[in-house]
Symmetry: C2
Subunit: 349 residues, 2 copies
């Protein structure tokens, strides 16, 4: 490990923790700094916090500016917030310190639709400081955008695209189950929807916008529907929560990309306890018609860690700017020393 990739972590919540563990399992990469706003983490060694049974010699800080003035890093992993405005100060700080970024911020995965001005601003700032910025994860970032885009590559004609994720939420973390309303009454669910305490899946709009951009489609609009509760018709026992018949087992988030008055891109995100069959399915209407399915689906947390870590060398090899998954070479697994994948000859074999 002559010259390992140096990473700083922003955000040590559930995802940040899993990403940190994922990075520590790889060779040719090292964590050189870690920041979280939670005061109680400050001063703890990352290894201690991750319960690795040993220190890794990196202390968590709550002061981002101080951290970046003390360490030299190649890439920042930002796993803090879902909305672009909330993470903009962190992006700006890293970019100005010459550090490339991969973030799980859902809105960053394709910010050119909802936040075109901010996106251009980030793009220009990144180019100025010669760093690359990418928002990604399993969804948005992979299952509902990268994968359907890739599948259209085998099509002579594309009329419409439907992507369905059918997930058994009972396998997920308890905060996740609460986030989708598991165990609520339908009334409580509606109330929390109205109060925006339940937002449904963030990222459908970004995935639709990325697919449309890849296909060169100008959409009339992207319609995001309020999440619908999925009501249990029987008692569902999960490791964490027991859902009674009539209670909310989870939710369904749907968004449509409309073109010529028709929903040409339909994304359905269904996550509840007691799902009969888990899968991630893509149906492309066109020539040829493509019906693709990942049996069992891809576990959200595991997939997000994978995509984030696997994109590190792609981002480090890429030209500067704010990129999206559709602009980068094919995603692929990092299974060897991270330095294996780094090259000044990016686009050649």
């Amino acid at each position: 490990m002559e010259n390992p990739v140096k990473v700083v972590l922003f955000g040590l919540g559930p995802m940040g923790k899993l990403i940190a563990k994922g990075i520590l399992e790889k060779k040719g990469i090292q964590i050189v700094g870690a920041m979280d706003i939670a005061k109680e983490l400050s001063g703890k060694d990352v290894g201690q916090f991750l319960e690795l049974g040993k220190n890794i010699g990196v202390t968590v800080t709550d002061n981002a500016e101080e951290l970046l003035s003390n360490v030299k890093a190649d890439i920042a992993i930002v796993a803090t917030r879902s909305y672009l405005k909330d993470i903009y100060p962190t992006i700006s700080l890293c970019v100005k310190n010459g550090i490339s970024i991969i973030s799980t911020c859902e809105e960053l995965s394709y910010p050119y639709y909802k936040h075109p001005k901010l996106a251009v601003e980030i793009d220009e700032l990144a180019k100025k400081h010669k760093v690359t910025v990418l928002g990604t994860g399993i969804n948005p970032g992979y299952l509902m955008d990268t994968l359907p885009i890739t599948l259209t590559g085998a099509c002579q004609r594309v009329d419409n695209i439907k992507v369905t994720r059918m997930m058994d939420s009972s396998k997920r973390r308890i905060p996740y189950q609460k986030k989708i309303g598991t165990g609520l009454s339908p009334e409580e669910f509606r109330k929390m929807i109205n109060e925006k305490k339940i937002t449904g899946h963030v990222g459908l709009v970004e995935s639709i916008a990325m697919i449309a951009a890849a296909l060169g489609w100008k959409l009339d609009e992207i319609k995001e529907f309020a999440p619908e509760p999925v009501i249990a018709d029987r008692e569902i026992v999960t490791p964490f929560i027991t859902v009674k018949p009539g209670q909310v087992a989870g939710l369904k988030s749907v968004a449509h990309g409309i073109r010529g008055g028709k929903p040409v891109i339909v994304l359905e995100f269904v996550s509840h306890a007691g799902v009969e069959e888990e899968y991630d399915a893509i149906l492309i209407g066109g020539v040829p018609k493509i019906y693709e399915k990942i049996a069992g689906g891809v576990h959200g947390d595991i997939g997000t860690v994978a995509v984030v870590v696997n994109m590190i060398p792609k981002v480090l090899n890429a030209p500067p700017g704010l990129l999206t998954m559709k602009d980068l070479p094919l995603p692929s697994a990092v299974t060897e020393d991270m330095q294996t994948y780094l090259s000044s000859k990016v686009f050649s074999a």
Copy 2:
């Protein structure tokens, strides 16, 4: 169509013809030249030859050098031969004339394993003349390399990869059915294998090498097995041929990428009349385990036309050199005017 993409076609066999038709269906692109070694095509208008019921104003020639001295083209589509040495003169000629290339030549899809010297030579020549060269198609080029590579992007660990194409050959062209031995006796099949008159599927080795390169895996070796006949256990009636019980219905081509003594990449190409269920399946052993399947499979000819045409803007946007599918951005369908996808701002949105 202010400044359409200008294409020259090399090879007007069955695939070349289908690609020509595929291009003529698109906007923002025009065929400006066509070459085939078959003397009987010389002087015919491409439109006439394609039975379009109208001329397109481009005459087929058998003289490549003359053709390129008369027309200015952005890209050449080379659909002539399967082996790199056979198409090298055409590649060299196009590159020296400043024309980028997409070819269905199977060995060009990942030539760095079987023909490392020639690959480097083409890469250097392409860079010198500032053009881009790509070998692609549905397979090799997409189903057994691009797609499994992309799927590993969601994996934290990859232990092994198995790709199976299960195809009903009775839907394919008659020359294709003959190529896989349909209707032969097992003895005739073995004889033709020994005489290399039946070669099985060309491209498995290239697909394995591309997957290994994407994963950074150093393989001990790539083993390509002689194609095995699939024997009919009942009478199979196809639109072209009736296969009697005991006769050859088609074949199975298998290749292994060996690492640490184990077959870590296994590609199975099965094509015969009377297949019960057609599919293209990818199984990735790892974390997470991924079982992906395209129900019904992707029709080879339709898919190859799609991939070749869809990669035109990616190749025109790419940096110069000999690239492979793993080096280029995600494939995606060209559904609008070809010029929509061209940009000097390739990697930005």
